[in-house]
């Protein structure tokens, strides 16, 4: 059933966007038409799930990124350097031409002291300091994941550390890639496009249209069930999960085509409703994630 739209050419092309863009960028770098970018990846107030998700990318994958597309200047989970040496690399990048990818929200309470991402020259560096210092200087800022894009889980009620989205702290445009986590394709495709042609076309909320233009509900393989009013009354039924509280109808992103974990499956394909993780307002405004007292 999940292969319902498999023969649609339009959908096939969409599923290849990221890989085509990454191949183009790598080819252009090989021919010296464009320069390899410098990439700084900040893990701010969040779970670091986006960098883990990125490592899980397949065609394009992380190796394409780190060896052929960019000089990966800084990411605290992946780099060999640590302590002051690592922080030297981070702040040493200021003045060079770099792209900033930030995951996690920014904790703002008590001058950001709730989230210290390292020490430099003997002083603690907060997520707030880092995002402000680097965000103003970067060629492009990409907010990776829902927390960075709109606050997400880090900013969920009661938000004790005053978490805020990256955009709210910077006086410039931030490209937003919401999703909990962000799909590796969304990030790699956006980065490749940015290296090749500059900022991609964005919607009113700052999301690249090439990945975030369709509602999940509009391309969901279970849509025929919705149209016929055939609704699941409990988890496990392979029909439309609207009555259980599916958020596919308010979530704009392309999961039904792209799928996850090496393009294998996705929540609705695994019989759980969409919880709107790539939508502004997640998680508070997407609750309840599941509801059993609606259907007759």
């Amino acid at each position: 059933m999940s292969d319902l739209n498999y023969d649609c050419r339009n959908i096939k092309i969409k599923s290849e966007t990221a890989s085509v863009l990454v191949q183009k960028a790598i080819a252009a770098i090989g021919k010296n038409e464009i320069k390899k970018g410098n990439l700084i990846w900040l893990e701010l107030t969040g779970c670091s799930g986006n960098i883990i998700s990125l490592l899980n990318g397949a065609d394009p994958d992380f190796r394409n990124l780190a060896t052929q597309m960019v000089n990966f200047v800084y990411d605290n989970s992946l780099m060999a350097a640590e302590g002051e040496l690592a922080m030297d690399k981070l702040f040493g990048a200021i003045g060079s031409d770099f792209i900033l990818a930030a995951e996690g929200a920014v904790s703002t309470k008590s001058d950001g002291l709730f989230n210290i991402i390292g020490r430099w020259r003997g002083r603690p560096v907060t997520a707030l300091d880092a995002v402000k210092k680097l965000g103003e200087k970067a060629a492009h800022v990409i907010a990776v994941g829902t927390c960075a894009s709109s606050g997400g889980i880090s900013a969920a009620r009661p938000n004790p550390s005053g978490c805020a989205p990256v955009q709210s702290l910077l006086n410039r445009k931030v490209i937003k890639l919401p999703g909990c986590p962000c799909h590796p394709d969304w990030f790699l495709g956006t980065l490749a496009y940015t290296l090749l042609f500059g900022e991609p076309a964005l919607d009113g909320a700052g999301r690249p249209l090439m990945f975030y233009s369709t509602l999940i509900h509009d391309i969901c393989p279970r849509r025929p069930f919705f149209n016929q009013g055939v609704f699941a009354s409990q988890l496990g039924e392979e029909t439309c999960m609207f009555k259980l509280g599916c958020r596919g109808p308010v979530t704009r992103v392309d999961c039904p085509i792209r799928k996850w974990n090496n393009h294998v499956n996705w929540p609705i394909g695994a019989n759980t409703p969409c919880i709107g993780c790539a939508m502004f307002g997640f998680p508070d405004k997407m609750e309840p994630f599941i509801s059993y007292d609606i259907a007759r």
């Binding site: 009555k243 259980l244 596919g248 308010v250 307002g281 405004k285 007292d293």
Partner: protein
């Protein structure tokens, strides 16, 4: 004319208006005009679905005609307390009120499990609507099921 004939007449008018709109859509190449015409189509569809409901018996149309509880509920108006029963739970329909009109969101995809961006059905959401959807053509896609009673008059 009896009520049935009136409704059939209205439906016919609606259909011919829709046909005209579709014809105009074919010849207009300006996207602004197209949007306007599409909006008109949506309005006609909403009207049609309301009229179809006029034929349907049962709970909803009884409330609409005001026959369910004539004393408390003249002209099919809902009090806040009545509205709260239509919260979408346990098989009840899901209604929300905006600007004095009561809409049915039971089958609206954006209202999964009768909830929508932290809002629940069975309530007057005029303020929330204004802060989220002002100027968007959202309401004309919804079925109208009645009006809100002016509860100040009943005091």
């Amino acid at each position: 004319m009896n009520e049935r004939e009136i409704i059939i007449n209205l439906i016919k008018n609606n259909i011919s208006e829709m046909q005209e709109t579709i014809d105009s859509l074919y010849i207009s190449c300006n996207s602004c005009t197209k949007n306007m015409l599409l909006n008109r189509l949506r309005r006609s569809v909403a009207n049609l679905s309301m009229l179809v409901q006029g034929f349907e018996s049962g709970q909803h149309s009884a409330a609409f005609n005001g026959t369910e509880n004539p004393q408390q509920n003249p002209a099919g108006a809902f009090t806040l307390a009545e509205l709260s029963k239509y919260n979408g739970r346990d098989g009840n329909p899901a209604y929300v009120a905006v600007n004095g009109t009561v809409y049915d969101v039971t089958d609206n995809a954006a209202w999964g499990a009768a909830t929508h961006f932290g809002l629940t059905a069975g309530r007057d959401l005029t303020g929330e609507f204004a802060s989220c959807h002002a100027g968007q053509p959202v309401l004309n896609r919804l079925k109208v099921v009645g009006k809100m009673a002016d509860e100040r008059l009943e005091l």
